[in-house]
């Protein structure tokens, strides 16, 4: 029996505003408990929410980036449920008329083909606080600093057919919100959280199977593992004669499994209704025009431009546009050194390798793009060879100075002067009469041996092109 998984994702992206969505309390991460929870966040009697303009702008920006309809008029609703990290007894969210309507993104599948994934909607809502279950006198501790942080909940269509596709989609959304500067994308701090709706059906079947909702997926790796576990679990369940129940399941990373959460069928009865504390939001053409005017180049457009303007391969263009910082770094190097392909190779191989070894991000690179470009210029004007350049790069990485000062102080300048190289070539030939004889007898692959000897004698500084030319001429004489 062939089974087809059907997956949809709900992604909560915290919008990077200074203040909360409905109050003037700070959203900064990591403050002492409850020092950023004001009367509005606490839901004290008599308070009224006032909507943060910046949260609206950021939501509009996202809508425009995924080619979606931005609602001219949208309304807020109360989602009613009781939990201690939500002191009002309801979450202000959107139900009917969300701010962002249907849109779509494109993901690249493993075989290189492109798939379009629909985004059903994206709506604004407030985040809840945090419950700490360590022992506080046998009770739970509640920190409401996060309460009221603006969230954009991005709901996909059930378009994904494997865990890998779901991860590709989640990465794409992550890339877009970070490019747009509307979310910092920090998954450890919970700025970007994912829930997955997973069901399976027999291949060819049109109807959707019963789905389970997986919560608590805070990394792309866990997202993939949890979905794969859940697909297997549901198939086993059905094949052994049982059926899948609609429920919420929690992913347990330690045991790599999903577990049913306490059954809460009635808790899902949220009794949404329009929030009487908030008037309908109208988004005028002027605001949309302003947002569009400030729209950065998006990853897909950047990737296409890199291919066209810099002649990069699909793979290189994809890698170099992963993040905006990475793309900007590459572009600065490419323009400053005038050789995009050389720049691409150095950024992806030497720089990426060095960053990786120290667990650093491009943004924290000790070596700026201008410094790297200065090194590449020395390869281009043949002051040094590519091999020596790696040595110079390492010294620059260790903070020993600029490319030029290291080349000078360590005497790494390439020998391009033919007479100097000739002298070494003559010496090497004279020192190796046996090899010379063999070469002249037809063993031409010994050329490599001679080149090696010359490079060794010059500590790698002889221009390899000139060495080859001179050696060939002299050996065959």
């Amino acid at each position: 029996m062939l089974w087809e998984p059907v997956i949809g994702l709900e992604i909560h992206a915290q919008l990077s505003t200074e203040s909360k969505i409905f109050s003037g309390a700070s959203t900064a991460y990591g403050a002492a408990p409850n020092t950023q929870a004001c009367a509005i966040d606490l839901g004290l009697p008599g308070v009224l929410p006032v909507l943060n303009e910046n949260a609206v702008r950021k939501a509009v920006k996202f809508g425009k980036a995924i080619d979606a309809e931005v609602a001219k008029r949208s309304i807020f609703a109360r989602k009613n449920y009781f939990y201690p990290d939500l002191p009002k007894g309801y979450q202000i969210s959107q139900y009917e008329l969300p701010i962002v309507g249907p849109g779509h993104v494109e993901i690249v599948l493993e075989d290189g083909s492109v798939k379009r994934v629909g985004v059903t909607r994206a709506h604004l809502e407030e985040d809840a606080g945090k419950s700490l279950h360590e022992d506080f006198q046998g009770m739970s501790g509640i920190d409401l600093n996060r309460t009221g942080t603006p969230l954009l909940e991005i709901v996909s269509d059930p378009d994904m057919r494997s865990a890998k596709e779901a991860v590709a989609y989640a990465r794409k959304i992550h890339q877009i919100v970070v490019y747009l500067g509307i979310c910092d994308g920090n998954m450890q701090e919970g700025s970007f959280r994912m829930d997955a709706n997973v069901s399976v059906r027999r291949k060819g079947e049109q109807r959707l199977g019963t789905r389970a909702e997986l919560k608590n997926l805070n990394s792309f790796r866990f997202l993939e593992r949890a979905i794969n576990y859940e697909i297997e679990r549901q198939i086993e369940q059905i094949e052994s004669g049982g059926e899948v129940v609609q429920e919420t399941r929690l992913y347990d990373a330690n045991n790599d499994e999903t577990r049913s959460m306490r059954s809460k069928e009635e808790a899902n009865d949220y009794r949404y209704f329009p929030d009487p504390d908030l008037l309908p939001v109208e988004i005028g053409d002027e605001l949309v025009a302003e947002v569009l005017g400030a729209m950065p180049e998006l990853p897909d457009a950047k990737r296409r431009r890199f291919r066209k303007d810099y002649g990069l391969s699909e793979l290189d263009a994809d890698l170099l546009t992963t993040t905006r910082v990475q793309a900007d770094y590459f572009e600065t190097v490419a323009q400053a050194c005038g050789d995009p392909k050389l720049a691409a190779n150095w950024v992806m191989v030497e720089l990426a390798g060095a960053l990786n070894r120290q667990g650093l991000d491009v943004a924290d690179s000790p070596l700026g793009p201008e410094a790297l470009a200065a090194l590449l210029l020395r390869i281009r004007d043949q002051t040094i060879s590519g091999k020596i350049a790696k040595q110079v790069f390492d010294a620059m990485w260790r903070g020993q100075g600029s490319a030029d000062s290291i080349i000078e102080s360590q005497g790494l300048r390439q020998i391009t002067d033919d007479s100097a190289i000739e002298a070494v070539v003559d010496q090497v030939i004279a020192d190796n009469p046996q090899q010379l004889e063999q070469y002249r007898a037809g063993k031409e692959k010994l050329l490599g041996f001679f080149v090696g000897q010359v490079m060794k004698a010059t500590q790698g500084k002889a221009n390899p092109g000139r060495v080859n030319l001179l050696l060939k001429a002299k050996l065959s004489r």
Binding site: G24, Q36, A37, V50, L51, E53, I75, H133, P276, V281
Partner: protein
């Protein structure tokens, strides 16, 4: 359209309201009447009327994104039943 006692009890539970048997019976009648009124209003032809999300014919004012609140934790926590190390304490909740 009518609601029975079980419906009322379910709604009361969702809203965390404790009702006596008498109150539940009374509410079942009252709420059913409200639903009847709604059913009656549903008969009215409203095809040409724009749906309304709020009784006020105004739009939401937007607030500039500025931090205007200062830390008043001590004040807020002075009326909380229990706190510890800046946290509000509640009966243990664990999934």
């Amino acid at each position: 359209m009518s609601l029975d006692r079980a419906d009322v009890e379910k709604i009361a539970h969702l809203a965390r309201l404790a009702l006596s048997e008498e109150e539940a019976n009374g509410l079942a009648v009252d709420l059913s009447r409200i639903l009847d009124l709604v059913a009656q209003m549903n008969q009215v032809e409203t095809g040409g009327v724009d749906p309304m999300a709020h009784p006020l014919d105004m739009v939401q004012r937007l607030r500039p994104d500025k931090v205007t609140e200062s830390d008043q934790r001590e004040k807020f926590q002075s009326v909380a039943p229990m706190t510890d190390q800046g946290l509000y304490l509640v009966p243990r909740v664990l999934e």
